[in-house]
Subunit: 293 residues, 2 copies
């Protein structure tokens, strides 16, 4: 029996609908949730992604601002934009689209964002609050989306052995922070390029989360029968017959793994759509924390 | 063959000697590293511990201040002391001794400490920097001491399977943060009270770190032959024949486990002495970051 598909599009749709209802409630108390996205340069993937964020905001009834800087923008210009958004009462959440051109220092930019508006959850204080279990920060959108997906498909996490492959600051580490908290209660292992005998770890996972960035890295022999497999990877793979000359592939070798797994996310249509949905949700949360006189 | 003892007293002595040399260098450039410890109330264990910190500072040539507040001190009084120490240029590191009396809010106190003086590493921004891998924060002293112990005894961590039992904010979580960083490169699993089949995890550990707070919790059958066992627990166990009516016991059942393990820390004399040594080292680091005109 092939694995059950975890439908990220449907879950994202449900979250966005819930956010739209809550946005209306915020408006009723006089707060219009507002998200600002800063895009430096014209990277095609980033441009598409930023446009999608803007559209999703508007569809949810939010205020949306996109600020475009040329790819020659200096660090000082970028920081000035961040400062201006920090001070703007119409903006509750903001993010600076990565990657930045090389003259810009991403770490400094992230630290400059007001943590109360850091809906990407990349500021160190928000990373710390997530790890410590303080509730007044923001979680990075992709791992937060994975948690939502697991919850809405009733995948039990308490006592589950979860193996995360990949230790990035935007997926692997915050994913571990979320999963180990009391209430979620997973037993988390973080694997990476230096892990010895990786398959012995992945094969004991009740929930396997792949966030490596290498297409089809996770093969069927690495998965325990019946496991839930979450594929965070989105890789471009050359494919001359495809319209753009490439296809998207996850970190998981989908067809063979789905013959072994109990539940699995497709790519595309799995974790990807959840990222924008959770960004909207975090912006809503940021707006809901604003006190109205 | 019984396990090799990892001598925390000797390693702490070496660290404190190195710190004393570096303190002299700081003094030569006009900076006297200063540590302030705030003690609220008269808990006997805390009082001893604070006194030991003060003595260790003085022995290393540091400036040491202990501020005592009555156990009736209000949150406002405590925050005022923190503010004063934040502003004091003679103080480079400070900590507020836990636990606090119940009228005080520890989270708020910790957040009030200037992160640049937070040598306990408990401020959320320092927890976040540790997880992200930014080098300009502070690590909590006990897990930092464990890393030093492993390094100085040449216990390899790269690719090693490390299992941490306990997910506290002062030991388990920051221990995981330190061990998963590039350069340390352990494959880390964090276990806790909800973990299923705990022994199956602990038995695969090359390095097993016990931070549970329950005496003799880790038994010989839970340890892989030859593993390195680090015991962070310090528990009082009633013992009528002892002078004080109790003895100190770790989280590890020492005698039988030391017959199985390759290396092991005793309690006392293992991790404990490293905590104060690392506190001195962090205070030195804080002082060394001060710019002199």
């Amino acid at each position: 029996m092939p694995a059950e598909l975890l439908d990220g599009i449907a879950v994202a749709r449900a979250i966005r609908d819930e956010v739209a209802v809550a946005v209306a409630a915020q408006k009723a108390r006089g707060v219009v949730p507002g998200l600002a996205v800063v895009l430096v340069g014209e990277d095609p993937a980033s441009t598409v992604y930023v446009r999608n964020k803007g559209r999703a905001c508007e569809e949810a009834g939010m205020h949306s601002v996109t600020i475009r800087l040329p790819d020659t923008a200096s660090q000082a210009e970028l920081l000035a934009v961040v400062d201006q958004l920090n001070a703007d009462p119409a903006i509750h959440g903001m993010l600076v689209q990565m990657p930045l051109p090389k003259q810009c220092n991403a770490d400094e930019v992230i630290r400059r964002i007001d943590p109360a508006k850091d809906v990407d959850g990349f500021h160190p204080i928000n990373a710390g609050k997530l790890l410590i279990g303080e509730k007044d920060g923001f979680a990075p959108c992709t791992p937060a989306g994975v948690i939502e997906l697991l919850k809405r498909y009733d995948v039990p996490t308490s006592g589950a052995d979860v193996v995360i492959v990949g230790r990035s600051n935007i997926v692997g580490k915050p994913m571990a922070s979320l999963l180990m908290q009391p209430g979620v209660d997973a037993t988390v292992t973080i694997c990476h390029s230096r892990t010895r005998e990786l398959p012995t770890h992945t094969r004991r996972a009740d929930i396997l989360i792949a966030a490596i960035g290498r297409p089809k890295f996770v093969t069927a022999d690495m998965v325990k029968p019946g496991a839930t497999v979450i594929d965070v990877g989105i890789n471009r793979v050359d494919e001359p017959r495809a319209k753009n000359g490439y296809v998207l592939a996850g970190d998981v070798d989908f067809a063979p793994v789905s013959a072994v797994a109990g539940k699995i996310t497709p790519v595309p249509g799995g974790v990807g759509p959840l990222t924008i949905a959770m960004l909207l949700k975090s912006t809503l949360v940021a707006a809901s924390r604003v006190r109205v006189a």
